[in-house]
C-alpha cells in the first residue's frame, strides 16, 4: 500500500531556540522499514529533531534527507503529503466528521470518491465503520487518536512520524493502540520514527532505540542490547526504571510475602 519505504538521513543538524540549543549537530541514518524510537527527557531535543523531517521546524544548520533527497527540495506542503504525522494533541478538525477528517489527505491530493478508502482505513485502525459519520467530540481519547493514525496513513505514506502519540491516553488504551501501530508498521512496511519519554514503550515497540540528551544522541542500540546493559550510563539510567518496576511486579506475582 505505501508508495515506497523511505529512509531518513540527518547530516550535522542543529537547531537553536532563544536561550537553548535544542539539537546539537546530530548526524544519523534511519534505514527504510525500521521502527526507531527517540527517547529522552523533556527538553532533550527529540521532538525538535523529529519535526525537522516534515519541516514543522527548520534547522539552523545541517541537512535532512529523505530517500537521499533534501527535504527542502520541494515545497513544504508537498513534502508533508508524503509523510504521515501523528502527535500527542491529535488535532482532529472539530468541524469535520470522522470520515472527512480521514479523507483530508485524499482530498488534498484531488481524489473525489473517498468513502471506500475511509472504510478500509477505519478497519485498519480497528474502529467500527459506522464511526465515519460521527463528529470528533463524540469519541473517546483513544478512538480519536486511532482516527488521527488513520488520517496520517490515508494516502499511503512510506514514513510515519509520531510525537508522543500515546501521551494523553490511559494505560490500557495506550497499550492497545501501541500494539496496533506496531502491527500496521509490519503489515504496511512503513518506516516509523516514534518520539516518547517512556523507555518501556520504546523497548517494547522499536527495533532500535536512540537516547537523546541535551540535543545529542547519547545512545543508539537495539532494545536487546540496552536490556543487556549496553548504551552507556545515560541510557542505562532510563532503562533501570522499567526494569526495576518489572522485577517488583514479578516478585509480587511470584507469591513473595511483604
Amino acid at each position: 500500500m505505501p508508495e515506497q519505504t523511505r529512509s531518513v538521513t540527518f547530516k550535522n543538524v542543529s537547531k537553536r531556540y532563544p536561550g537553548a540549543l535544542a539539537v546539537d549537530g546530530v548526524s544519523l541514518e534511519v534505514a527504510g522499514g525500521s521502527f526507531v524510537a527517540l527517547v529522552g527527557a523533556s527538553g532533550s531535543g527529540k521532538s525538535t529533531l523529529l519535526k525537522t523531517i516534515n519541516r514543522l521546524v527548520a534547522p539552523d544548520a545541517g541537512t535532512v534527507l529523505m530517500d537521499g533527497e533534501p527535504v527542502d527540495a520541494v515545497p513544504a506542503h508537498l513534502l508533508r503529503r508524503r509523510i504521515g504525522y501523528v502527535f500527542q494533541n491529535i488535532g482532529l478538525f472539530p468541524h469535520m466528521s470522522v470520515a472527512e477528517n480521514i479523507a483530508i489527505p485524499l482530498r488534498l491530493a484531488g481524489e473525489r470518491n473517498t468513502a471506500g478508502r475511509v472504510a478500509e482505513l477505519l478497519d485498519l485502525v480497528e474502529l467500527p465503520r459506522d464511526f465515519a459519520a460521527r463528529m470528533p467530540d463524540a469519541l473517546s481519547g483513544g478512538q480519536r487518536q486511532r482516527v488521527g493514525v488513520a488520517r496520517a496513513l490515508a494516502n499511503g505514506p512510506g514514513l510515519l512520524l509520531m510525537d508522543e502519540p500515546f501521551g494523553a491516553l490511559d494505560p490500557v488504551t495506550r497499550d492497545g493502540l501501541a500494539r496496533a501501530i506496531r502491527a500496521l508498521h509490519d503489515r504496511m512496511g512503513l518506516t516509523t520514527i516514534l518520539v516518547t519519554h517512556d523507555m518501556a514503550e520504546a523497548l517494547l515497540l522499536a527495533d532500535r532505540v536512540l537516547v537523546m540528551s541535551e540535543g545529542r544522541v547519547a545512545a543508539d542500540a537495539t532494545p536487546r542490547a540496552l536490556l543487556a546493559g549496553g548504551g552507556g550510563d545515560a541510557a542505562q539510567a532510563l532503562v533501570a526504571v522499567p526494569r526495576e518496576q518489572a522485577h517488583r511486579l514479578a516478585e509480587m506475582e511470584g507469591g513473595g510475602s511483604r
Binding site: L56, I90, G91
Partner: protein, 509 residues
C-alpha cells in the same frame, strides 16, 4: 398616524440599501485585514487601533467629515465625485462596520486550538487551504457574531445619514424632532429598530445554520436577506433620470419652503427628490457642486459665513453682494429674494423683559452677566454672534446650544432667559416674546433667497416654475405657516403647511 408611516416603505428601502452596502464594503475591508492581523502582530495592533479610534468619533461628525474630504478629492480628480448623499454615508458607515468584524475575526482565529493548526500543516495544507478548510469554518461563528453587531450598528447609525443628504429613516426622526411631531420620530425609530432586529435575526439564523452544519438554513436566511435587498433596489433603479433635488436645512421653515418649491417643480413636470436636514455649511457647497438643484438660504448667512464679511450694509446691498459673489465664484444663480426676512432676533420672555426694563441689546448687555443664553446648535460658532457680542460687549452667565425646538422650550421653562430667535418664527408672537432692538445695526439682514445650482442656472423651464415665488411671501404668511408646523396642538405636516402657504401668499400682495 398613518400619515407618519406613509413614507416608511420608501425610506426603509433606501435605509436597507445603504446599511447593507456599508456592511458589505466593511466586510470587504475587514476580512483581508483580519487574515493579515492573525498572521502578523504588528498589522493587528495598527488595524485594531485604527478601527477603535474611528469608533470613538461620533457618527454625526464622521459623516460630516467625509463631506470636505470628498469635495477635496473631487477637486483633485477634476470633479465627478459626489460629496453628498450615498457616497459619504457609505464610506462613514463602512468604517464603523470594520471594528466589530475585525475584532471578532481576530478573536475567532486566535481561539482555534493550536493542535488543529499543527494538524493542518502536518497533512500538507497550503496557507490558502488552511484558511478555507480549517480556519474560516472554525472562526465563522465568532466572526458571524461580529457581523451581526456591525449590521445592527450600521442600521442604527444610518439614521444620521440624513444630515449629509442621504434619504433614510433618519429623515422621519430629524423632521419629527424639528417640528415636534413625535409620531414621526416614533415611526422612524420603530422602522429602523424593526429593520435592525430583522436583519440581526436573519444573520443569527445563518450563524446557527453554519454552527449546526445545516447549509440550507445558512443559505436560506442569506437568501431572504438578498431578496429584501432586491426588493429595496427595484424602485431605486429608474429614479436617476430627470430627477431634481430640493434641499432643506433642518428647521420647519426650510421643510415648508422645500415642499412648496417641490410642488411647483412637480407641476412643471419634474420628478422631485428632497434632501432635508442639511447642515448650514453643507447646503451651499452641495448646491455649488450640483448635488442639490435648489434651496432657500438667507443673505446674511452667506454674507458672514461663506463670504466672511464682517461689515453690515443695508439689506438690499447684502442681497446684491451675495448674488454677484455666488454667480462669479460658483456659477450659482440667485433667482430672487422670497420677500421676507428671517433674521436672528434676540428675544426674552415678555414679562421678564418688562420687569428688567430691557428693550434693546444695549440694555441687555448691562444685565447679561445674570442671564442665561440658549442658542441653536450652530449660533455660537457663527461670525454673527461674535459681531453682536463684540459690538455690545455681551457676556452671559452661561451659553448653551439646543436643537431649535428645545431652545424655545428652554426659554419657556426659565432654564434660559435669552435666545437668538428667528424673526419669521410664529412662536415669537404666539408665546408673547419680547424682541430686542439692535440700535448699532450689528446683525446683518437675512432675506430669504432662492438659490439655483450652476446646472439649473441655464434651465429656463426650471426657473419659470419658481420665478413667481420671488418677492411673493410676506413675513406674516411665513410666520403663520411656521406656527402650523411648530405648535403643539393641531399640528400640520410641512407639506400641508406648504399647500396652505401657496394659497395664502395671494393675500400678501
Amino acid at each position: 398616524m398613518t400619515a407618519a408611516f406613509a413614507r416608511v416603505p420608501e425610506l426603509l428601502a433606501q435605509h436597507l440599501l445603504l446599511a447593507l452596502s456599508a456592511l458589505l464594503l466593511g466586510l470587504a475591508v475587514a476580512l483581508p485585514l483580519t487574515v493579515l492581523s492573525a498572521r502578523n502582530r504588528a498589522v493587528a495592533r495598527v488595524a485594531l487601533g485604527m478601527a477603535s479610534l474611528i469608533q470613538t468619533i461620533p457618527g454625526l461628525a464622521l459623516l460630516a467629515l467625509f463631506y470636505p474630504v470628498l469635495l477635496w478629492l473631487s477637486a483633485l480628480a477634476g470633479g465627478g465625485i459626489p460629496a453628498l448623499g450615498f457616497l459619504p454615508s457609505l464610506l462613514a458607515l463602512s468604517l464603523y462596520a470594520v471594528l466589530p468584524i475585525l475584532r471578532n475575526g481576530v478573536t475567532g482565529l486566535a481561539a482555534i486550538d493550536p493542535a488543529v493548526i499543527e494538524a493542518a500543516d502536518g497533512v500538507g495544507m497550503t496557507a490558502w487551504q488552511k484558511l478555507r478548510l480549517v480556519e474560516a469554518p472554525l472562526a465563522a461563528p465568532v466572526l458571524m457574531a461580529g457581523i451581526r453587531t456591525a449590521a445592527v450598528w450600521t442600521i442604527g447609525a444610518a439614521t444620521l445619514s440624513t444630515t449629509v443628504g442621504q434619504p433614510g429613516l433618519g429623515d422621519l426622526i430629524f423632521a419629527g424632532l424639528q417640528t415636534q411631531n413625535w409620531t414621526l420620530v416614533l415611526a422612524g425609530c420603530i422602522a429602523s429598530a424593526g429593520l435592525a432586529l430583522a436583519v440581526d435575526a436573519l444573520l443569527g439564523l445563518a450563524e446557527h445554520g453554519i454552527a449546526r452544519r445545516r447549509r440550507w438554513l445558512a443559505w436560506g436566511s442569506l437568501g431572504v436577506l438578498l431578496a429584501g435587498v432586491l426588493a429595496a433596489l427595484a424602485p431605486a433603479l429608474p429614479s436617476a433620470r430627470g430627477t431634481v433635488v430640493v434641499g432643506a436645512k433642518g428647521f420647519s421653515e426650510q421643510y415648508i419652503l422645500a415642499r412648496m418649491i417641490g410642488a411647483r417643480l412637480e407641476a412643471a413636470g419634474y420628478r422631485v427628490e428632497y434632501r432635508e436636514g442639511l447642515g448650514s455649511a453643507v447646503a451651499f457647497s452641495a448646491l455649488a457642486a450640483n448635488d442639490v438643484d435648489v434651496y432657500v438660504d438667507y443673505s446674511g448667512t452667506i454674507w458672514t459665513n461663506q463670504m466672511r464679511r464682517s461689515d453690515v450694509p443695508p439689506r438690499a446691498d447684502i442681497v446684491a453682494g451675495v448674488g454677484g459673489w455666488a454667480r462669479d465664484r460658483h456659477g450659482v444663480l440667485l433667482l430672487g429674494p422670497l420677500g421676507f426676512e428671517n433674521a436672528y432676533a434676540f428675544a426674552m420672555r415678555g414679562a421678564e423683559a418688562r420687569r428688567r426694563g430691557i428693550r434693546t441689546l444695549a440694555d441687555l448687555a448691562r444685565q447679561a452677566p445674570q442671564l442665561n443664553l440658549a442658542t441653536d446648535v450652530e449660533f455660537l460658532e457663527r461670525p454673527e454672534w461674535r459681531a453682536v457680542r463684540d459690538a455690545y460687549g455681551l457676556r452671559f452667565r452661561s451659553a448653551r446650544p439646543y436643537q431649535p425646538t428645545f431652545m424655545y422650550r428652554a426659554l419657556d421653562s426659565g432654564e434660559a432667559d435669552v435666545i437668538p430667535a428667528f424673526s419669521s418664527d410664529g412662536r415669537i408672537a404666539a408665546s408673547g416674546l419680547a424682541v430686542l432692538e439692535d440700535p448699532k445695526g450689528a446683525i446683518p439682514g437675512y432675506d430669504a433667497i432662492l438659490l439655483l445650482s450652476p446646472a439649473r442656472a441655464q434651465d429656463e423651464r426650471f426657473q419659470a416654475a419658481l420665478r413667481p415665488l420671488a418677492g411673493a411671501i410676506c413675513v406674516q404668511a411665513m410666520r403663520e405657516a411656521n406656527l402650523m408646523v411648530d405648535r403643539d396642538a393641531d399640528k400640520r405636516s410641512p407639506a400641508e403647511a406648504a399647500r396652505w402657504l401657496e394659497q395664502r401668499i395671494a393675500a400678501c400682495r
